[in-house]
């Protein structure tokens, strides 16, 4: 039989470095931040490889364009270097490091097409438009999605459920770009409710941005159709997610017990069914905020709405690589940050996870 064993005492602390590493890994949030930084670094490297290191890559093409435009090879190289923001004559690793240093300082190089404009400034200039349009539509889609989703769940298998479910499935199936086209055709061409000009650009040419009612009215008339398209193309999947989440929650025992306790319906709908059913949707909201920064490449160009998406789409068609690279990086970073936010938010919202250190 086994010899009598004294229960093991605590393991002695190993060398301090290992102890620190152990503490970092154990702290859930720290680990998440490290992962986020790693993914941003990964994205930066991908864009660098795409733009710079691939054979017959765009930087070479830039140089050929310049030489064919009459610049001597050396002049073309230096010119391209200034545009891209790092010295292209150095061996690859040095360029990569310099590129990384620039990114860290927020300098994403200069636009090739519009000479001299720093990419960072261009992005900062258009960012508010995208955040405003996508942010607002996200808010509308989220609230609409939750309400309609809950209605579909409560009124399950009634005509309203079938109607809304099929509507949601259809909207979800059709791609946003086609929804945009359809809305423009319907409102602008067939029914002629909204003049085409109001579906172009973010504001009328002559208006000066100011805190005046007139400015806001003009901004709103330009954005309302784009908002409609954003909402229509996204609300479908929000409704379906909310419906299945609510149906699952309605089946839980604590809802039956709440009814057995004679709680008023409103209290049950909000604190019992509502809070639990919307938990998964909040994380999804946080993630979509990240994608909001990117705006919609297609819809912004379709409506020529001068946002980040429009900037990227023009850079793509004009092969303006520095801008392309910069915008892509900003979008990716925003998404990574949003994921971080989503994890933290879920931990905060759901006590079961908060107590356990957001594991």
């Amino acid at each position: 039989m086994s010899s009598a064993t004294v229960s093991p005492t605590l393991p002695t602390a190993r060398n301090p470095l290992f102890f620190w590493l152990e503490r970092i890994v154990s702290n859930y949030l720290l680990r998440r931040i490290l992962k986020a930084i790693f993914s941003i670094w990964l994205v930066t490297s991908i864009t660098f490889i795409l733009v710079r290191a691939m054979p017959s890559n765009p930087v070479e093409i830039m140089i050929q364009d310049l030489t064919s435009a009459g610049y001597s090879p050396d002049e073309a190289r230096t010119q391209a270097a200034t545009l891209v923001g790092f010295n292209i004559n150095q061996p690859m690793p040095e360029q990569y490091l310099e590129y990384l240093r620039n990114v860290l300082h927020g300098d994403l190089g200069k636009s090739y097409k519009s000479r001299g404009l720093r990419v960072t400034d261009m992005i900062v200039q258009v960012l508010p438009w995208t955040l405003f349009s996508v942010g607002l539509s996200l808010l509308i889609t989220f609230t609409l999605g939750i309400m309609l989703g809950a209605i579909m769940a409560y009124k399950r298998d009634t005509w309203i459920d079938h109607l809304l479910s099929n509507l949601a499935a259809t909207l979800d199936a059709v791609s946003p770009y086609l929804v945009g086209l359809l809305i423009i055709l319907l409102l602008g061409v067939i029914w002629r409710i909204v003049p085409i000009t109001q579906m172009r650009g973010a504001m009328s040419p002559g208006i000066q941005p100011a805190f005046s009612l007139e400015f806001f009215a003009d901004v709103f008339t330009h954005v309302r159709v784009l908002l409609l398209v954003y909402v229509l193309s996204a609300v479908g999947s929000w409704m379906l997610t909310m419906k299945s989440s609510t149906i699952a929650t309605l089946g839980e025992d604590y809802v039956t017990v709440a009814r057995a306790r004679g709680l008023p319906d409103l209290r049950i709908l909000t604190a019992y069914v509502g809070r639990n059913a919307t938990l998964p949707l909040f994380t999804r909201l946080a993630i979509s905020i990240g994608f909001a920064v990117g705006g919609s490449l297609l819809l912004e160009s379709l409506f020529t709405y001068r946002g980040v998406g429009f900037l990227l789409s023009r850079a793509l068609s004009e092969r303006d690589y520095p801008v392309m690279q910069g915008v892509f990086l900003v979008i990716a970073a925003a998404v990574v940050f949003a994921n971080l936010l989503a994890d933290y938010l879920y931990g905060w919202l759901d006590p079961r996870i908060r107590i356990v250190g957001g594991e």
Binding site: M1, S2, T5
Partner: protein, 322 residues
Amino acid sequence: MKDIIRLDHVTRTFQVRRQTIKAVDDFSLTIHEGEIMCLVGESGCGKTTTGKMITGVLPVSAGTILYHGQDIAKLRGQGLRQYRLGVQMIHQDVYASLNPAHNISEIIASPLRRHGLTKGETGTQARVRELLQMVDMTPPDDFLDKYPHQLSGGQRQRVSVARALTVVPSFIVADEAVSMVDVSIRISLLNMMSKLKDAMGLSVLFITHDLALAKYFAWEGKIGVMYLGRLVELAAARQLVETPHHPYTQVLLSAIPEADPEVTRKKRTIQLRSMDIPSLLRLPSGCSFHPRCPRFLGEKCEKIVPELKTTFDGAAVACHAV
């Protein structure tokens, strides 16, 4: 009698939120050929983990398990295959133990075809009918092309037994095999299993939380009581129930209600020192029952893990106070 399964200081640990917990701790047991061994204990005591380690789907963290005297970790080729087919398990959950996408004849026929235990398709079908007959599912043809969701809980468990017998095993682990089946047909399932045990010379490890059921099924065999991963008492079935030695076994027996008002209402429940069950994450030191043990001896129980000692009447008990 030769022993079929021997566990030597077997330990199994799991990682839970960066901590290592001991689901099974320094567990030794020997099961002889043709014997029925019951493992009884509350949930989380490690009885199912032990069963899974014996069947080989869960490797041990320390110690060895011997099948017919050979260490299962070192078995290769034919020896390994012999062990693999020799030890089978009957699962608890009747709804999850059969593949919902296959009908009954496919479920029983696939091991036969896989190991070439029958000659051709006709041989297989005949053997499938024979096996269904053995588990009292008569007439077998009614069930051949039925799907699991078309059978009752009891019938599903019988198919599970028939499937285990296809590879002619020598050792069956029944993990709470009847706890999800209705009380009224539980006994017929157990009787069928003991009939098959004698007919095929099987040895059975019967895992359950119900001491009365263990006593009934193991009648001639032994019962081992587990607490938080350790074997605390091992004795002949009826002797353990009639004259328990370990305080935990005594507390369990006093807590079980009897299906007879006179008896159950006169039973005196042994009061525990504290009610809350310690978690495996913060296992009490020394004898892990000491925070709740009515016969707590103080420092000795807190410091030293008691080892199994044989008592005058042949039972093995791990307790300083016995």
